[in-house]
């Protein structure tokens, strides 16, 4: 019998990124350990907005748009697998999504952004529409007069992000994965072609390791010859009580979940590791949501949430295999829900095969060093 503390692959991080990769690896028959922290940690996965979102992403790195589109296309397959493996409906809907603008200036900037996005070489273009208030009002009943216009693509969708995290964990377990909670990884080293992980008093060995520890990668990556120059970026969310279904498309900043609650986002603040909520930002979020849907005025806010996004310097994911210590992989991004399908169904097999291949070449951290030098 194999030593129970020896695995083919150890994935460090039990959030959406680590759990999706771990699930994909376990499905492929690999012996995987998924190492996670305890109940209180900087968990971006708990603050996720739940969008499976394509439109507007990739300005500055066209392959990111393509990777995102690929994930959105493979999402129905992931949802079906999770239904079978975890007996969970993660409530995937991909009816197309709207980005609404509350001023002419916002709309102008939005259209410019999409125009610049599609002008990039190598980007797989997708259709989008620019809509004025009247056209929007036909398709989204109840929008307020403050909404001057917006953009739409049919690729966008959303899921229940909490059900997703649970389903990935359950599916991982179903395929024989070993989940190790309260096991914060402290030290990594390689010895005799194997990686040795020291985590919370225990030692594990694995032929390969995947660093999917979010902000924790900052300190772990250099131990195996990788760089993960990530920083926290605070995002805040309002959660309203359940109301009758009134919204049949996700908006970039507001969506109604399958359970009827309404989520309102999204804010971006450079606040270091402070993951507490700030009242002024909440007021701005509430004000814009109210101008978008005036009928929400008397709906109660049950909760607010602040979480720390895991941001790279240019905002794009980093996927990389260590040159100095082959077999050590890094995966970091701030779109763990959108990219869950790509992580489980595309990235995991590449990691298992030991080569990330040409598609993920553009996501190497080398691009960040180049930027720094110029």
């Amino acid at each position: 019998m194999a030593n129970p503390a020896t695995f083919d692959i150890a994935v460090v991080g039990g959030g959406l990124v680590g759990a999706a990769i771990g699930y994909g690896l376990a499905r492929g028959g690999v012996q995987v350990a998924l190492l996670d922290e305890g109940d209180i940690a900087y968990r971006a996965s708990r603050g996720n907005f739940g969008l499976v979102w394509v439109q507007g992403k990739g300005l500055g790195l066209a392959p990111y748009s393509n990777w995102t589109q690929l994930s959105a296309r493979r999402w129905p397959e992931l949802a079906a697998l999770l239904r079978a493996d975890a007996d969970t409906d993660v409530a995937l809907e991909q009816p197309g999504g709207f980005h609404l603008c509350l001023s002419e200036r916002e709309l102008e900037v939005r259209v410019q952004t999409l125009t610049r996005l599609f002008a990039q070489p190598g980007l797989e273009a997708y259709p989008f529409e620019v809509l004025d208030h009247a056209a929007l009002a036909d398709r989204i009943p109840g929008i307020g007069s403050a909404v001057v216009g917006g953009t739409y693509t049919r690729l966008d969708g959303h899921v229940n992000a909490l059900k997703l995290l649970r389903a990935l964990h359950a599916g991982f377990g179903k395929h024989g994965g070993t989940y190790l909670p309260n096991t914060r990884t402290e030290r990594l080293q390689s010895s005799g072609g194997r990686f040795v992980l020291e985590a919370h008093g225990t030692t594990l060995r694995a032929s390969k390791i995947v660093l999917a520890a979010g902000l924790g990668n900052l300190h772990l990556a250099p131990q195996v010859g990788l760089a993960a120059p990530v920083r926290p970026q605070r995002g805040q969310i309002l959660v309203l009580e359940r109301v009758r279904r009134f919204l049949h498309h996700p908006l970039a900043t507001l969506r109604q979940t399958d359970e009827g609650t309404v989520l309102i986002g999204d804010s971006q603040e450079e606040a270091g590791y402070d993951d507490t909520v700030g009242l002024a930002v909440l007021a701005t979020l509430a004000d814009r949501a109210l101008r978008t849907f005036p009928a929400l005025r008397d709906v109660r806010i049950n909760r607010t949430w602040a979480a720390l996004r895991v941001m790279s310097p240019d905002g794009f994911p980093v996927y990389e295999q260590s040159r100095a210590q082959p077999g050590a992989f890094l995966a970091t991004c701030h779109s763990g829900v959108t990219l869950a399908a790509a992580h489980a169904l595309e990235l995991a097999p590449l990691i298992a095969a030991g080569d990330l291949g040409p598609r993920l070449q553009p996501f190497s951290a080398e691009r960040l060093h180049v930027q720094k030098a110029t």
Partner: protein, 475 residues
């Protein structure tokens, strides 16, 4: 009243601790406001004391009417007072606090240099099979209806649980003319023997004589079943009866109303959301804010008085309110340390007097694990209808704490924000994992600690940076 935009001290809660803290602070010449959710001062213990229709004084008893003196002193003090006001957020802004309030459907932000939380206790969750049926409520909620509206139950009432408050309520209801069929006492049989070492202190305390007379009165007035080991509320769609087991023997009794109560625990939602340190109190089986002997928390400027800082009753709360005010005044530089200590002598003496016997009461009435940690299909989280079995299955999946549990099952995400399930979830996870509740931890709570409407929040002031954080367009 209209609140000013700034105070030296904001006191939250108009029970004995808050009333004493506000009156003491004003007496020292500080600018003070007291905000409270109710329409009149008194808190839960002296609820509606200035407005109650129950004027026959022996119904609610001398301990209730004692509150008149306290309320009168507060009213004479001239402290600012805003009733029907809910505090939903307290955040630090530079060297003061920003407090988010909601009053009559309108939200506003005010500032204070010191905040005294006197938010009191809440009833401990009592998760038995059928506890969500219409016709089942907490005894404390029924007592509020009696105090504030003179309402007593009409049909056949059964009381169940343990603790002194249960017997007090039984006596008050009977005196007010309600028909209490039966009191099912869940205090574990033989608990007396375990707690005898604390008995001498109790016997010497002011509670002893009251306790005995209350018990004897209840015994005269209703059937009391001791050593009850299991209880279920039964009925289809509404309560029809109560099933209980004692000495291995199970029986059903018909009932129109089942009132449950197994003691109170500190209400920690606000202190938790503010970020104050808390610890597991094994003697009272609950989480309690960690405070020093003035009530000062781990966050400078936030002081907690009364049962919100640990259950010790109304008279202790009053003394702790005074001490909290002295501490806050001293922190503001308004009172020298020597003055503070001199003025603290009298309230500390009171505190010592009213804390006597507490260990005995805590130990005697600590609810048995069977009534704190449910099994099977019993609902744990009422808001999201999460059962005990779902929680134990999710622990088996590798979920180790209440915050991950919240992500996985939505427990604690409803409008009560964990008040009715938090302790149960912690103890259930701890039991399944074979670790302590202290290690398991509690929900990390966020604002608003009481729901407010989107319209209220949208009307609050925004800043350039808050707009930039959301709109993200270069100006």
């Amino acid at each position: 009243m209209t609140l000013a935009s700034r105070y030296d001290i904001l006191v939250i809660g108009a029970g004995p601790a808050g009333l004493a803290a506000a009156a003491e602070s004003v007496a020292m010449g500080l600018r003070v406001a007291l905000v409270d959710e109710q329409g009149a001062p008194g808190g839960q213990i002296y609820r509606a004391i200035t407005t109650t229709p129950v004027q026959q004084r022996d119904v609610l008893g001398a301990d209730y009417w004692y509150g008149e003196k306290l309320v009168a002193a507060f009213e004479r003090s001239g402290a600012g007072y805003s009733p029907r006001t809910t505090v939903w957020a307290v955040t630090r802004e530079a060297d003061e606090f920003q407090i988010g309030l909601s009053c009559d459907g309108g939200a506003q932000l005010i500032r204070a240099r010191q905040v005294i939380l006197a938010t009191g206790a809440q009833e401990r969750p009592f998760p038995i099979p059928g506890w969500t049926l219409p016709g089942v409520m907490t005894a404390g909620a029924a007592q509020i209806l009696l105090k504030s509206a003179g309402l007593v139950p009409g049909g056949t009432t059964v009381l169940a649980g343990s603790g002194p408050l249960l017997y007090l309520i039984a006596a008050q209801f009977t005196a007010a003319g309600a028909r209490v069929e039966c009191l099912l006492d869940t205090t574990p049989a033989g608990r007396w023997r375990d707690v005898l070492r604390h008995a001498p202190d109790f016997v010497a305390s002011p509670y002893a004589a009251k306790g005995w007379s209350m018990l004897r009165a209840a015994q005269r007035m209703m059937r009391i079943v001791k050593g009850v080991e299991q209880i279920s509320a039964i009925g289809a769609g509404k309560l029809d009866g109560v099933r209980f087991t004692t000495g291995g023997h199970t029986q059903d009794i018909p009932a129109d109303l089942l009132l449950l109560h197994q003691g109170v625990v500190p209400g920690i939602n606000l202190s938790n959301a503010i970020g104050c340190a808390h610890h597991w109190d094994a003697a009272q089986a609950c989480f309690t804010p960690t405070v020093d002997d003035w009530g000062a928390t781990s966050i400078p400027g936030i002081t907690i008085a009364g049962d919100a800082a640990g259950i010790a009753g109304a008279r202790s709360a009053e003394a702790r309110g005074t001490l909290a005010a002295l501490h806050a005044a001293s922190a503001l530089g308004h009172l020298r340390t020597a003055q503070r200590d001199a003025q603290a002598v009298a309230p500390r003496r009171e505190l010592e007097r009213w804390n006597r016997g507490r260990k005995f009461v805590d130990a005697l009435y600590l609810p048995a694990p069977e009534f704190r940690i449910p099994t099977g299909d019993t609902i744990v989280c009422r808001c999201e209808e999460v059962t005990a079995r779902q929680v134990t299955e999710t622990v088996a999946l590798g979920c180790t704490g209440p915050n991950q549990m919240k992500s996985f099952l939505r427990c604690g995400m409803g409008p009560c924000q964990g008040r009715l399930c938090g302790l149960t979830i912690t103890e259930l996870i701890a039991k399944e994992r074979g670790v302590s509740p202290a290690e398991t931890g509690y929900y990390r709570l966020r604002f608003p600690v009481k729901p407010i409407t989107l319209g209220e929040l949208a009307a609050l002031p925004q800043t350039d940076s808050s707009v930039d954080a959301v709109v993200r367009i270069k100006r």
